[in-house]
């Protein structure tokens, strides 16, 4: 399916050590342009650490992280990587709590990030149209003027996905988007991600197997910092090693 598409993201032999503990162990992964990939694995497998490495939060001890043709992400810091078009949703939903839902999206909208711009910036009608459209997509229209800290857990998850959309990234890294959601919300989120994937590449980390199945994409299983198995959901869930370390418990 993705065999002849351009490679968007390429992790090559990435290792990360925290005080002697190997969180990532020579991890390699290839993501094609326009692909959506699900990443699963037991707690502590290194899924979040992988996202930290891609987004510049953590520098790997060894290995390469290449974005697009030849951009080496390990040499860049977080804002520069965000600028390139990599957006991230955190495992714990992280929104700007004192701000309204609207303002959260406004701050996330792609645009000039420099103080000299934001000091004088006036909201344009183009910006409000885009925020309106995102509010509709993430189903938070009636909540636009609420303080985002007062939203429910699931609503915060969506707001954060909305902020991700507002950034207009090429690649979205989504860490556990459906944690704490009801079944109906989970289903809607799967739908939303599939929709997003029509125009953007996505890496989604999730423990919820029903959700992963609903996404219907290639799955990578991480274990102790490296890839244990990779393939369709049916392939990996029948892999005896995966059953042993993850699904069997």
């Amino acid at each position: 399916m993705s065999g002849n598409r351009e490679t968007l993201l390429y992790l090559d032999g990435v290792s990360v050590t925290f005080d002697g503990f190997r969180a990532l162990n020579s991890l390699s992964l290839v993501l094609a342009e326009g692909e959506m990939r699900a990443v699963i694995g037991p707690n502590g497998a290194g899924k979040t650490t992988m996202m930290d490495v891609i987004t510049g939060k953590t520098r790997p001890d060894t290995g390469k992280v290449v974005f697009g043709k030849d951009t080496d992400l390990t040499k860049m810091d977080e804002p520069a990587i965000a600028d390139l078009g990599i957006g991230r949703k955190f495992q714990k939903p992280t929104v700007f709590e004192p701000h309204t839902v609207w303002d959260n999206l406004l701050l996330a909208l792609a645009g000039d990030r420099r103080p000299r711009f934001t000091l004088w910036a006036r909201q344009t009608s183009e910006e409000s149209d885009r925020i309106d459209a995102i509010l509709k997509t993430i189903r938070l229209r009636e909540h636009r003027d609420r303080r985002s800290g007062d939203l429910s857990h699931g609503q915060k998850q969506w707001l954060e996905i909305g902020m991700l959309l507002a950034q207009e990234p090429q690649l979205l890294l989504v860490d556990e988007p459906v944690a704490g959601m009801t079944d109906a919300e989970t289903e809607q989120t799967a739908e939303l991600l599939r929709e997003i994937n029509r125009t953007r590449s996505v890496v989604v980390v999730e423990h919820d197997m029903a959700f992963v199945r609903a996404l219907g994409v290639k799955v990578t299983v991480l274990h102790e910092g490296s890839v244990l198995s990779e393939g369709s959901i049916d392939h990996v869930s029948n892999d005896p090693r995966v059953i042993e370390v993850y699904l069997g418990r």
């Binding site: 977080e78 700007f96 004192p98 701050l107 103080p115 000091l119 950034q167």
Partner: protein
Amino acid sequence: MSPWTFRLCLVAVLGGAALLSVLNLALPETAAFHVPTYAISLAGKYLSFAMLALAVDLVWGFAGILTLGHAAFFALGGYAMGMYLMRQIGTRGVYGNAILPDFMVFLNYKELPWFWHGFDNPAFAIAMVILVPAVLALIFGWLAFRSRVSGVYLSIITQALTYALLLAFFRNDMGFGGNNGLTDFKDIFGIPLQESSTRCGMLIVTAIFLAAALLVARYLVTSRFGKVLIAVRDTESRTRFLGYRPERYKLFVWVLSAVIAGIGGALYVPQVGIINPGEFSPANSIESVIWVAVGGRGTLVGAVLGAVLVNLGKTVFTGALPELWLFALGALFILVTLLLPGGILGLLGRPPRRPKNVTPAAEPAE
């Protein structure tokens, strides 16, 4: 920081200064409502402190930088003004030296140190009031924010900064009058300092500067810049993943805040008539943080209110029981922290949006 408290604060600052001046100048000294000149200068001092408090609130309330060294910027602005006022004395000093201030003659200086040149020119002195705090803040902030020093560590180095300046300014060979500082001023811009009308004028000018600083600060914190700043305060790392560079935002507001503090110091010195190294003492910086906490952090208006009220209290208290003031201040701080996390302004209904140190910030660590 609702609009009405903000407007009320502007009116109170400007109207209060005008009213006190009228009551001082227009009424005979025997009249019941006459305001004595020393009270005018006292009010001017409070408003100068309010500028320091406003500066602290900008960085603490909106950028989460708990500064424990802001009095350093205030004192530097004060010294720049003090140097101008010293040069204004001219031959009227005890030693009658037209160039050298008294303390330099006393310490056997042969000529004016290079860094005193230009301070006889008011425009130059005013430029220094702004530039010296700004440049120091720029260097300090650039180093600190770029290497992501924050929290307690940052607080400690701000305290170290003011302490280092305290020690330096105490030294006689620094050329700033050592222990005694700069004093015995005669004129400002050629106008005799002791006149009641000059005192009232200085109070009104201070009120105008404070009002202007409030307006600038309010514009800043309600702009999109301010929204980013508040986001940085609560969840700094999250803003980075959105492509913002928090260090630039912090640096800008830090330097602006230092300038406001410096102007406050420059307004303070002619009204109290002296600037000495004691203004750099760590306790002063800590007091300014307490004013903000008492008035209400992150509200701008609260900073002004807190500075005026606490200093009014200090004037009354130190008159009656001087040795107990520090205990009273400490107790006030503890009470406010425990019982009034939103400060006085938090009491006035519509609680200010609670700063994040009350509910620990949700850091996107994992």
